[in-house]
């Protein structure tokens, strides 16, 4: 299973959600499906996508928030799973694409490569109740549907191949993405 296929499968569902994605390949693949004003691309600060998602979810209880994370990023901020569990935002879906690789920084193996470390088990151990592991596109689609139907915090660990896009680039600057993302949220709030 490839991450790009997973993103393609859920892309239409992201239309009315606030989406925070991690850097590199994941950001680019989402962007390549078509940028939307409700997408924020965290191109650095590895580990903090889920923390941004938590801040959004707690302050915008009427919105659904989807975080697109990766094994390398989550491993840099494992504490985030405990903070998510503690505050349990019902409107947050945390998707972790586990490709067992630091793909965007040269493809070095991550701590999950061997299969010894189980991020889903870590999420459960942190105290998150709804945790899914997806090995196939069918699993992933079902996990996403279930998460959308569950009025509770969900984590989906999707096992994907360590592949990414051939070309990188976006037609806006990083602060511009932040300004427009905020504007989109404030417009939603006032409408």
């Amino acid at each position: 299973m490839e991450r790009a296929e997973c993103l393609e499968q859920i892309y239409s569902e992201l239309d009315d959600k606030l989406v925070v994605t991690i850097m590199g390949a994941c950001a680019q693949e989402l962007y390549d499906l078509g940028h939307r004003e409700n997408f924020f691309y965290l191109q650095h600060a590895m580990g903090l996508a889920s923390s941004i998602g938590l801040g959004l979810a707690l302050h915008l209880p009427e919105e659904r928030v989807v975080v697109l994370d990766g094994d390398g990023s989550v491993l840099m901020n494992l504490g985030t799973l405990t903070t998510l569990a503690r505050y349990q935002p019902k409107n947050l879906i945390h998707i972790i694409f586990d490709n067992g690789s630091l793909l965007s920084t040269g493809g070095f193996e991550s701590q999950t490569t061997s299969g010894i470390t189980d991020l889903a088990a870590i999420a459960r151990g942190a105290g998150i109740e709804h945790v899914h592991t997806a090995e196939t596109l069918l699993d992933f689609g079902e996990a996403m549907i279930e998460s959308l139907e569950t009025d509770d915090l969900s984590v989906i660990v999707a096992k994907v191949d360590a592949v990414g896009p051939d070309n990188y680039g976006m037609d806006f600057q990083l602060p511009e993405n932040a300004f427009r993302f905020r504007r989109c949220i404030l417009d939603k709030k006032s409408s």
């Binding site: 606030l18 924020f40 965290l42 191109q43 650095h44 600060a45 580990g47 903090l48 996508a49 889920s50 923390s51 941004i52 998602g53 938590l54 801040g55 959004l56 979810a57 707690l58 302050h59 915008l60 901020n77 504490g79 985030t80 405990t82 903070t83 503690r86 505050y87 990083l174 602060p175 993405n177 932040a178 300004f179 993302f181 905020r182 949220i185 404030l186 709030k189």
Partner: protein
Amino acid sequence: MTVSYDNSRLIFEGIKAAGIRSISALPETWLGLLLQRADDDPEVDLIQVAKEEEAIGVAAGAYFAGEPHVLLMQNHGFLAAINGIVSLAQLYGIPLCMLIAVRGHWGEPYPWHTRGGIVTEEVLRSLGIPFEYARDPGKVAKQIREAHTFSESSLSPVALLLTRDLMEED
């Protein structure tokens, strides 16, 4: 020496008077009474993180949501949060109003705080983060309001340093 009950109250009241109802924090001794008040106040959302760098993300989320926010941390927590400050807040132009307890400076009896205390000001300078010291209980509410205003107008991290003079009493 004990943590000042009255000044902790003044700081909390200053945060609320600045229109802030969202606080992220990692507990530390000087901030204890302040966090207790935040936790007990139904008007205030207190989000306690496991490590201070998480709070930079939470603060960014609050900012995107249009919610005035303040971060409470010890200076060692500030040091632990630097990559988030640089590569999220400064990179994207996201304001942070940080109230930082400056341990390990003049009068510090505990050796373990001292190295962090000695480098805090120079690290703030080298990161280009504007800062002020809060020493006078009569001025701290105004300083909090001004720190928050400046962070939002400059789209930058701003630090108000909570000193021993303010946080401790005999």
